[in-house]
Amino acid sequence: MSEVHDQKNALEVRGLTRAFGVRKALDGVDLDLSERAFLSVFGPNGAGKTTLIKVLTTLLNPTNGTAQVLGMDVVSDAVELRTHIGLISHNPLLYPDLTAEENLLFFADMYGVEQPEARVAELLEAVELDHRKLDLTRTFSRGMLQRLSIARALLHRPEVLFLDEPYSGLDPHAMDILDGLIAQIRGNHTFVMISHDLDKGLELCSHALILAKGRVVMFERREDIDDAAFRQTYRSTVGMGVS
């Protein structure tokens, strides 16, 4: 394992292609991202952003090419890799007929978290839901669900966090909590975030990527980005449609 973590890059993607039938959702994507970087991924609907995250989180196998996260291959090292990554999606991925605490304890068991009760209590407090821990999550608002979803994703202390439009549908208070949590763990985590919000994405990122038709249109470090040119490129890709 130490060998794996000595790798400098958090992401190494080479010629990554994922096809659904004849349609290529990802078409020869190459990408390198160093550890503790924050990558914001932009692109129009159908550009392949969610497919990219699904491949990197082992939910989909690539059709061609390779992808490594923390030096682990997303296909051959999938089970081990899953202990090092977390996903916060716009879909909360929680059971509505379990309480907040039961949901987190369930996922703590799935990840083999040690001292699960203490970890769950700590995270419920961090996302300000400890007072609702015994309520069924079907009674939660969108913002509360998203906060609990953040706690679920952080349970096993992942090193790489994938965020699929995490701010979607959040009220300002929930956005502040998410901002605070990201700021807290920013220094020792790698982030990959899909966003349609250019301002937010550019504010947070150390690297930015624009995908269109499954291909990389632009991949730059934040300090090399001219905001006006970037926005112009993004606007031009939105009209490119799906792959």
Binding site: T57, T58, L59, N61, V79, E80, R82, T83, I85, L87, S89, N91, P92, L93, L94, Y95, P96, D97, L98, E102, F106, F107, D109, M110, Y111, G112, L136, R152
Partner: protein, 234 residues
């Protein structure tokens, strides 16, 4: 990893049972369907002549009811996971796919057995009341109920996973499930019929059917175990 797999298996089983005890969706729908099927059987056979012996067809009626009832639960068990995106959360966790299979199949087995326990007394009351029965051979019934239900739950869980992403999942499940259930149905009906008829001959017939069902269970569970990772990945 074996310790973690055990913890994951227990967690998934506990989660399914807690959610079912809270909502009672599967037990209620399966239980009501099974009871209604019994009533329909009763009405349909009510005009049979006095020479008709219900013991001749009791085993077939019973297993048909169980097979159709089980399809309701099988569909729901996976749809719950799929609808809320929770299947994705499960697949994101470091769980070996066969562990998910055994947990879901185990949950389905528990709920199916619960419905069978509710249905059997009603069936006995409606169809076998006053019939000459051999208590010692009837005591074998739990064995075939368990063996048959293991096969239904195992194969059904695999097929429900295959069909959950299809647009006509109920239809797809039925089209795959019923033909694959034919060998199990045959063995289970033979064994149950033997237990109901009783006597030395009935017990012999029971063990023939039981051997058939156990063989089916072993083959199909091994196949399901081997195929589950591929099916979930697809």
């Amino acid at each position: 990893m074996a310790g973690l797999s055990g913890r994951q298996l227990r967690a998934m089983l506990r989660k399914d049972i807690v959610m079912e005890l809270r909502t009672k969706e599967m037990i209620m729908s399966m239980g009501l369907y099974a009871l209604l099927t019994m009533v329909v059987y009763f009405v349909a056979l009510s005009q049979a002549g006095s020479s008709f012996d219900p013991r001749d067809i009791a085993a077939g009626l019973l297993w048909l009811a169980f097979i159709f009832t089980s399809m309701l639960g099988l569909n729901r068990s996976l749809v719950h996971e799929k609808d809320q995106g929770c299947l994705e959360a499960l697949l994101l966790s470091p769980v070996d796919r066969p562990v998910i299979f055994f947990a879901k199949a185990g949950g389905n087995l528990i709920f199916l057995l619960a419905v069978e326990l509710l249905t059997l007394p009603v069936f006995g009351f409606l169809f076998l009341q006053g019939e000459q029965m051999d208590a010692s051979s009837l005591a074998l019934l739990p064995l075939i109920l368990l063996a048959g239900s293991v096969g239904i739950s195992g194969v059904g869980t695999l097929l429900a996973t295959m069909s959950v992403n299809t647009s006509g999942k109920d239809f797809v499940l039925a089209m795959l499930f019923i033909p694959l259930m034919y060998p199990l149905l045959l063995g289970a009906v033979i064994a149950t019929g033997g237990a109901i008829v009783g006597g030395a001959e009935g017990v012999g017939v029971f063990w023939t059917g039981m051997g058939w069902v156990v063989g089916y269970d072993v083959i199909m569970l091994l196949a399901s175990y081997g195929l589950y990772e591929f099916i979930v990945g697809a």
